[in-house]
């Protein structure tokens, strides 16, 4: 079981309120991703759940029991760190065995669990090596192995993939997702990468300056961002946000249209602009459009290829039903 409840959790460092009072509930078995720009307080929030950071005020409950004053090791949570945080002086086997040794589990059970974890994480051949002799991906797997054997109520991941190269990151992302499907244990995952958040999460918590901007499934966030910040943060490339008279035409302070919700023509359309850089990804092409008179630079995503070159005139037409409208307060207008 791993139901986690945050009740008016608040963190103040000196004179700075990093996290204003915040409520959040995480259901058992959920894969929750905290996402936000760096410095938004997502790691601090995770560390508060872990018990590595004290709460200034508020309370945290795991499975109904108040753990606010409970030390990290007694909360039944396992954490995977960005730096892996393996014990460099111990072999892989001893690293994985460590939490079990601390818990006083007998040797036979330890061995069985180590072998099972090593097998599922492809570490069997490396059990007698030290962390220094492993690659980044292998080290991360050891860190996960060390977390698994504890059979925690929830796993906490603090940007676990940011030290890996791009190709490995995609692979490890899948492994973590498969692990979640297999174990069905609550996982809280912190990242600044919205692509990771979108692909992995059951539920995304978007944070900015310690404040929860929106909580929802990836598609809820994509289709109905609650405010301009979420609209701009979720989705790649970013949503085009247009202010001024064009927005006023739609009774809004700001209108948002995603790059994939614009149709392109070389002859006619709602907005006229000039082609800047085109980024060819093969399946997609992102075209940067300048001089529309609406905003500095609009991004358009088209599938396949189109015969435009730098400096050409181009016409864009938004899909009316995919347009997002925001009021003067930045909030979405239904």
């Amino acid at each position: 079981m791993g139901r986690i409840q945050l009740d008016k959790v608040n963190k103040v460092f000196g004179d700075v309120e990093v996290i204003p009072p915040l409520d959040l509930s995480i259901e058992d078995g959920e894969f929750v991703v905290f996402v936000g720009p760096s410095g938004c307080g997502k790691s601090t929030l995770l560390r508060m759940i872990a018990g590595l950071e004290d709460l200034t005020t508020g309370a945290i409950a795991i499975d109904g029991g108040d753990v606010t004053e409970v030390p990290p090791s007694k909360r039944g949570l396992a954490m995977v760190f960005q730096s892996y945080a393996l014990y460099p002086h111990m072999t892989v086997r001893k690293n994985i065995a460590f939490p079990m040794r601390m818990a006083g589990i007998d040797e036979a059970t330890q061995k069985a669990k180590i072998d099972a974890a090593a097998k599922s994480l492809n570490l069997t051949d490396y059990l007698d090596r030290k962390p220094g002799q492993l690659s980044g991906g292998q080290r991360q797997r050891v860190a996960i192995g060390r977390a698994i054997v504890r059979e925690p109520a929830a796993f906490l991941f603090d940007e676990p993939l940011s030290n890996l190269d791009a190709a490995l990151r995609v692979g490890m992302r899948l492994e973590i997702m498969e692990l979640h499907k297999k174990l069905a244990t609550t996982m809280i995952y912190v990242t600044h990468d919205q692509v990771e958040a979108m692909t992995m999460a059951d539920k995304i918590v978007v944070l900015q300056a310690g404040v929860i901007e929106q909580v929802g499934s990836p598609l809820e966030l994509y289709h109905a961002p609650r405010n301009k910040f979420v609209a701009g943060f979720i989705g790649s490339p970013k949503m085009n946000l247009i202010e001024g008279p064009e927005a006023a035409k739609h009774d809004a302070n700001t209108i948002g249209i995603r790059p994939e919700h614009l149709t392109v023509s070389t002859t006619e359309g709602t907005w006229k602009g000039r082609v800047g850089v085109a980024e060819h990804l093969g399946s997609d092409t992102f075209i940067h459009v300048h001089d529309t008179g609406l905003m500095d630079m609009m991004t358009v995503r088209i599938t396949g290829d189109i015969a435009v070159k730098h400096g050409d005139d181009i016409y864009l037409t938004p899909l009316a039903d995919q347009m997002h409208r925001f009021g003067a307060d930045g909030l979405r207008i239904a």
Binding site: A50, P71, S73, F81, P88, M102, A103, R150
Partner: protein
Amino acid sequence: MAIVAETTKFSKVAWPVLAWIVALVFFFPIFWMVFTSFKTDADAVKPEFLFRFTPTLENYTNMTDNYDYWRFATNSIITSVSATLLCLFVSVPCAYAMAFNPSRGTKDILMWMLSTKMLPAAAVLYPMIFMAKSLGIYDTRFVVILVLTLINLPIAIWMLFTYFKDIPKDIIEAGQMDGLTTWGEVKEILVPLAWGGIASTALLIFIFCWNEAYWTVRLTTFNAATLSTLIEGNRAPEGLFFGRLSAVSTAAVGPIVVLGWFCQKQLVQGLTFGAVK
């Protein structure tokens, strides 16, 4: 090209020669001391006998017969070892706390500790002697151990703090998540990871304790007197007994030179730590 080549050739010869000269200058007093210790007091003061003399063990036998060298040596060993251990016992937890749970005042506390080393020892000499006497601990091993510990504590904490700072905090936190108590963190993570640093610190503190003269000479007379006091006692009043003095000095520095020789690598690492990285 030719100039560059010549310069290289020149520096290849010049630097080692210079290094040898410097090394010999530094080594000469020790060399002289050891040589003199095998001369009679009469020969010792005559320059013509600098290299040519009849070696004698008289000074050494005299030393063990008349001065009870071993009593002083025992005191030196007991006080140095105890002070080193006590120093580590206090400084390891202290440096641990400052490295991993720093507060706003940590930097200031470190500076304050260092500042105590800038205080002239003479300034507190009389209060110390007065206190030791009125507490009835003057000329006891206890007071020597206490003072040796206190004067070396700032250095021990600074050195250990530097070593501990290099251990990623994540590893300590992972340990906390895995169920380690504070003592467990020190035992299972800190000591194994900072072993080299702790050893260098211990070695250096031991050497400082062994060589300490200012305080040991002034806080002891007989019972707790260390080898430094023995050397001091062979000085002045009776005249210049260089042979005897040299023998005592050689016997006092001998153990530490041997220890230092075997632990050279650790020592150099300890002294230059943080400077080159």
